[in-house]
């Protein structure tokens, strides 16, 4: 088995007094695409926010490339090579399309991705590069959000609800681009409501239920029944 790039050990995460995650253990191997599924409120977004540093934890609970980053600032974690495509795109409305992409490249890491490569992946963005990011359609905004994360040349990229609020045809296009993104050895964590899609593109899957890991396995080996049980917590 390849080296793990990300390891979570007994991760507890809190929003104030409210505990959202309970002792989550999870590993992502080098070059692997990992899917995280679970119902609304199961803790998926909290998990990504904890990994990216937006929620502070105990240092050793999150290990990235051998470093304990649980208590690091999000900007430091980003510099280390961890990028996120946040839920709901969350582009910067004051910045043009090109500026949104450029700010993603701010961390200045070496790698295959640059403005040219992102435009090659999503040609429509080059046509719209001077426009305000808010003037784009939902699917195009998602392309900007993905491009913005790629510009950082991350070692691990995390997608939060990649297909939320997008038309099925757009979702298909975005998933079509995915192999070209993660094919280059980049690891990926995909949080997805669409379980079929999630299993299709990933090699392993974790299911969260009420802040705990309720299922872990190879994406082509888990059964529908296992998932239903892990997802809803019913027999």
């Amino acid at each position: 088995m390849p080296e793990p790039i990300l390891t979570l050990r007994g991760l507890d995460a809190f929003y104030g007094d409210f505990q959202a995650l309970y002792g989550v253990d999870l590993t992502v191997s080098e070059g692997e695409v990992l899917a995280i599924i679970g119902a609304n409120g199961a803790g998926k977004t909290t998990l990504l926010r904890s990994i990216s540093g937006l929620i502070g934890n105990m240092a050793e609970q999150v290990q990235f490339r051998g470093a304990s980053i649980g208590a690091e600032r999000p900007d430091v974690i980003a510099q280390m090579g961890l990028a996120m495509v946040p839920e709901g795109r969350q582009l910067f409305p004051s910045l043009s399309v090109a500026e949104n992409l450029m700010i993603g490249g701010r961390v200045n890491r070496e790698g295959p991705w640059n403005l040219r490569k992102v435009y090659d992946l999503f040609p429509i963005l080059e046509e719209r590069k001077a426009q305000a990011s808010t003037s784009l359609s939902g699917g195009q905004q998602q392309m900007v959000a993905i491009g913005r994360a790629l510009m950082a040349n991350p070692d691990l990229i995390m997608f939060d609800e990649i297909s939320l609020g997008l038309a099925p045809v757009i979702i298909r296009d975005i998933y079509k681009a995915l192999p070209g993104i993660v094919g280059g050895g980049m690891s990926a964590v995909i949080v997805e409501q669409d379980i079929t899609k999630a299993l299709e593109v990933s090699s392993r899957v974790y299911c969260l239920q009420e802040g705990r890991v309720s299922l872990e396995g190879k994406s082509d080996a888990v059964s529908r029944e296992d998932i239903a049980r892990a997802y809803f917590g019913v027999e």
């Binding site: 999000p74 980003a78 004051s94 910045l95």
Partner: protein, 287 residues
Amino acid sequence: MDLVNAVVQGTLLGGLYALFAAGLSLIFGVMRLVNIAHGDLIVLAAYLGLTTTAALGVHPLVALIVVVPAMAGIGYVLQRAVLNHTLGDDILPPLLVTFGLSVIIQNALLEGYSADPQKMDAGALETASVALGPLSLGVLPLLTFAFAIAVIAGLQWVFYRTPLGRAFRATSDNQDIAQLMGLNKRHVFGMAMALALAVTAVAGILLGIRTSFDPSVGGGRLIFGFEAVIIGGLGNLWGTLVGGVILGVAQTVGATINPGWQLLAGHIAFLVILAVRPNGLFPRISG
């Protein structure tokens, strides 16, 4: 003719008010911080200018070379050491802390420089004028207005043409996501305050050449700055210049009618605009 003269002089005066306001507008735009100590920081810059001219024997405008970086440094340290800790979902802590800062600066200046009014000596520049038809324009007010345009054009360029400006706008839009892009928001805010206080340095020196000042005048400069920002509309730097000009013209026209009405006329113009256009003339961001 008096009226035309008043409008022209008021317009030039508006340049100074725009300089008071630009720094306020910038930090509110980037970090939603209302800096009550802004006027006192302008006065602090004027005193730093006074000390520099006295110590080095240079012209006040040459003192800018020292005072601008000094104020920028003070701004960065102030933001990182104090103000960053007050920022959050609640708008009250920064108001209270900068109010306290205002009191501290005033009293420190009283201790250091006494309450006597001071003035910087700019030599012939203070009285030089050029004739424009029947009007006589002071070189210093013209220079002040030119400084205001240059400063606002410069800030505009930084905001919309440089990576630092992108960082300012991105952090202003969404602090969390900006951090995911590797931006350290504490540093970004520090840079914004440094830039704002660099502008304050220019405003303070020009103020100190134009009029006499003492440690207590900061509050008045803060009011003029606020009014210019609100008239122009939040987050719009060129709007801030327009706001300063409207305020300046209202004051000089008021003073032409009755010398006692100068300040009153400015405040009335502000209130009228606030009543008609509560968001100012050219708002970019909503309060």
